[in-house]
Symmetry: C2
């Protein structure tokens, strides 16, 4: 399995704190040592850092932790390989262009019976079920909307129906972004939190790091973080339900199919067991 991390914010925000928690799970506090990657959008462009080596040992991951790159939409992933060997072409996130925008995708889970899904001219480069699913999504999006609709939420609602199809093929927790919107789709493990004023303190589960968000923010900042497992001890993360999707824009969740909020009790710090390994 793998772990996902996504962020949506209303002002350019760095993700150093959350990313520092995540990378520990890439070989130190978690088993996800088969590569990692992160994509930061800036305007219509993006920058990406990737490594097929464990994130906890990567000099590139250290740079990303220490060099505050500010972005309003971020997608990150640490990998524990199942389908596809350990290599750069199989390292998430994947980014492709559609409608003159860069779309970025990362997946946690495993699919079966996916190789007959039509991908058109969008061929996978690596061997993962994840990249294949991304190619299928893009091909279906372009087929359904040869030009993108004015109301972009229509696109994401359509993507949610596609994700519902993939749900029947296995575990499909996903993060997807076009640089403006960040979409999360859950089949079993995905948590979200929206931070806004009044900001408090937070302590990472996986590393002895505490942050006082009040010192790092202004009162109008809104930042949502989506992750496979909660990253902090003393905050309320909301667990997403199977089949639930959330669409985030400028830090806020602007649409979801969920009526129900599942509050997660504060996580307990158990050294050595902070990031549960998933059986899938």
């Amino acid at each position: 399995m793998c772990e996902l991390l996504g962020m949506s914010a209303n002002v350019p925000t760095d993700i150093c704190f959350s990313f520092t928690g995540l990378v520990q799970r890439g070989g130190r506090t978690g088993p996800h040592s088969d590569g990692w990657g992160i994509v930061f959008y800036e305007g219509r462009g993006f920058r990406t850092f990737k490594d097929p080596d464990p994130s906890c040992e990567s000099p590139i991951a250290r740079l990303v932790q220490e060099y505050p790159i500010k972005s309003q939409a971020v997608i990150s992933h640490i990998r524990q390989a199942n389908r596809g060997n350990i290599s750069l072409e199989n390292t998430h996130p994947f980014t492709r262009e559609l409608w003159g925008k860069y779309w970025t995708f990362a997946h946690n889970g495993q699919l079966t019976d996916y190789t007959t899904l039509p991908v058109g001219s969008r061929r996978p480069v690596g061997e993962t079920d994840s990249e294949y699913a991304f190619c299928w999504l893009l091909n279906a999006m372009e087929t359904r909307f040869p030009t993108p609709p004015d109301n972009k939420l229509e696109v994401f609602r359509y993507i949610a129906t596609l994700c519902d199809e993939l749900k029947h093929k296995g575990v499909f927790n996903m993060l997807l972004s076009d640089g403006e919107y960040v979409m999360a789709y859950c089949t079993n493990h995905l948590y979200r939190i929206t931070r806004k004023a009044p900001f408090g303190h937070a302590t990472l589960i996986d590393e002895e790091v505490e942050v006082n968000f009040q010192e790092e923010t202004t009162p109008t900042d809104v930042v949502s973080v989506i992750a496979t497992q909660p990253l902090t001890l003393n905050e309320r993360w909301l667990r997403m339900k199977p089949g639930e999707y959330g669409i985030f824009y400028l830090g806020e969740q602007v649409e979801t199919n969920s009526q129900e909020l599942i509050h997660v009790p504060f996580a307990e710090k158990k050294p050595g067991n902070q990031a549960p390994s998933e059986p899938l």
Copy 2:
């Protein structure tokens, strides 16, 4: 204008030495301070580092200089903006998928009358003539070869004819790679060098760095470097002619349309004027 740097090698080779020379021209010894980028292929995958800030000041560029990432195909670019503002989406190289492979492109020059060239569904994200030309190349390649021919050189020969068309629209010095082959096309400024045994010493023009390639290589290593301007003082760089192309594979130039080799005299070190600014 901009500067290009490409490498093809028969064994995974780091480009720290050449890149160290190039980044100085990104704001210190040269005027190309409007961003920089580099793509390293590893297997079928790649990793890329980009920054719209000057390369000579970039912590990310420093990492790339200090952390030896070994690759057999590299494309890099430092930018002095002409078409398109300074932003990440306008920062070269550009990478897109075609035929299940990642293609990477960087351009030095300026084009006119290019916006009517058909790009099909491969829409540019930024505003540069360069990215537009890349989209046109990919669209033409896919139209001409719905599936890639067995002899890959056929593709590159076809690309050369496309480049000949672009040559009539302005200055078009280009580097292009699919991760196996590296292609260089010249309209005015492009130099190349192939290093093989017996290896010697080389000294950068733009920085007080000397390397003894004999200590860094084995006797069977072959590495070709292509650059807008020679990067070293005491080596023979070959100047490419207008309309000349070279296709490099595993370090060797395996095809060119040039019969004639133009030997360049050893460069002279003139502090402060090492990397001439181009008027175009």
